[in-house]
Amino acid sequence: MSDVSVARSGPSGATAPEGAERAAAVALHGVTKRFPGAGKAAEPVTAVDAIDLEIADGEFFSLLGPSGCGKTTTLRMIAGFEYPTAGSIRIFGEEVGLEPPNKRPVNTVFQSYALFPHMTVADNIAFGLQMQGVDRAETTRRVAEVIDLVQLQGREARRPKQLSGGQQQRVALARALVNHPKVLLLDEPLGALDLKLRQTMQVELKQLQERVGITFVYVTHDQEEALTMSDRIAVMDGGRLLQVGTPQAIYDRPRTRFVADFIGDTNLLTGTVVDASTARLGDGSPIRIETDRAEGSTVTVAIRPEQLGLRDPDHPRDPALDAVHGRVERLTFLGNATLYDVVADNDPTLRIRVRQGNAPGIEHFTAGDAVRVRWMPSSASALDD
């Protein structure tokens, strides 16, 4: 009991080492989790593999990756439901890696909400405060406050079952927020909602986070959700951290094939390095690309379809743009844009997808047309692998 209040008493500064700059809200160092494999002789499964990660105070931080990449395991280790096999987990500078969940200043919003079915909405929300020994008047006040915050007025006496999915979601959120956690952990909190509701809740959740200023660690496998909501994103695969950065940086400058592929639609072109700023594609056309790879080695270049434009090849070339010549193989009308699949003239293995807006004045082509595909050299990025 008393441990709980001690652990939660000080603001972040209290346990941070003096003199150091403000500690990260969450800092993971070399965090690894191995599960014993199923069956006797089975190899252990490495769910999380030596992750280093620092999440700043007040950040909306997303863990993004395909199913089974270790997002939930990472989050559960921060919450205390799972203990790391190796590594250090710090919350505002305080090591908590082996602490039980009830002694950590974090709260969780579960994917299934995990609302207590035998308690009313108000009792669910008050639970954490009661466990911490907060007095009754204060509890009532804070519960009312947070019910206002998530707009659940009038539903206090209901049971979770008598609420819609979206309302249950808000109760789960309120139940965590009422404790003023230093960090809020959310495991695919919108996963159970239908698309429309999910989109509204995305906006609400983001606004709420800005209002309360609590650090959010948000697990999702939905790249769009991560891109629209997050201050920073960590992309994971196979238990490893592949890239951490702002949504813009992750989208515009993917560092690996996996990241480029997983987030958005992308074209991957293979070229041979000529020098530090030039490469040559398979069809011989030179392109400008920044790379530190050795001369003569292959480099993979990623370009988003919407960064590409189509032009009649008879037009004079714009020297500021790189280009490839080809023939439209197929087009798909999307409404606001049209997708063109283009096959390069000199290299039938080189296929490029172009997404061209449908605004008036933009040139249009049909299948079989010869075209020039062109792009700004700055929109192409060289991948590490």
Binding site: N107, P117, M131
Partner: protein, 293 residues
Amino acid sequence: MSVLEMPGAGGPDVAEDSLARPRRAVDRVLAGNAWLVFAFLYLPIVVLIVYSFNDNQRVGIWTEASLRWYGEMFGNARVMDALRNSILVAIVSTAVATVLGTAAGLSMERYRYRGQRAFDGLLYLPVIIPDITMAVMLLLFFVQTFDLIFLATGIQFSRGLGTIMLAHVSFNISFVALVVRARLAGLDGALEEAAADLYANRWQAFRRVTLPLIAPGVAGGALLALTLSLDDVVIAEFVSGAGSTTLPVYVFGALRRGVTPLINAVSVLMLVGSILLVLMSLAVSRGRESSGG
């Protein structure tokens, strides 16, 4: 929706008449069989109840309705003693078995440790072992243990209500554990994690979240234990001593000597007890469904 779920409801089936007609014939046969089964299940019970109100000395010959045998039953000291013994044994053994069985269920379902599989086997065995084997085992055990105690201390224990209670606990633990486990398995583990996440220590999490949610399972297990204890005749016959007869043991013994109308009345009394317990467990299981999970 399945055709089978709408027997005889012509509506949607009409278009598929060729398909539906032979189905209906089969359905009628199945329904006939079902009525026969229910008749088979209930007729003996009904006849027993009716004949318990028969005034005649001879069991099978109906003369006139009376409460004569009920009067005799309530006036019969041995029957009343046996009834009291049965209730005492059932309540004590159920109370102990419910606590132990719930703990065993929790330990099995919520934790992993070495030796667990051996315990799992130990927990299942009493469920599947035939009554007669269990009775023999416990009889020999008590005889042997009491002999050893007498040799060591000079104190002579003898079989009685205590041994029946010990024996009943020993099979009821398993039944309670089975029911509680099933309930726990259907309980979202995230609920207990959520409690811990919200600063509940282990005891608080159990007390405030786990226990209320498995309560219907615990109650169901307790009712099952109560029923089994009141039902048991074989084990009680073996491990009881003089003066510690339970009601089923009394009836069984009396039956060996011959059928009397008094037994009819006693049987109906036991039947009424059983049915009250069924109704209670139905109420409990209805609560189980409504309290979610």
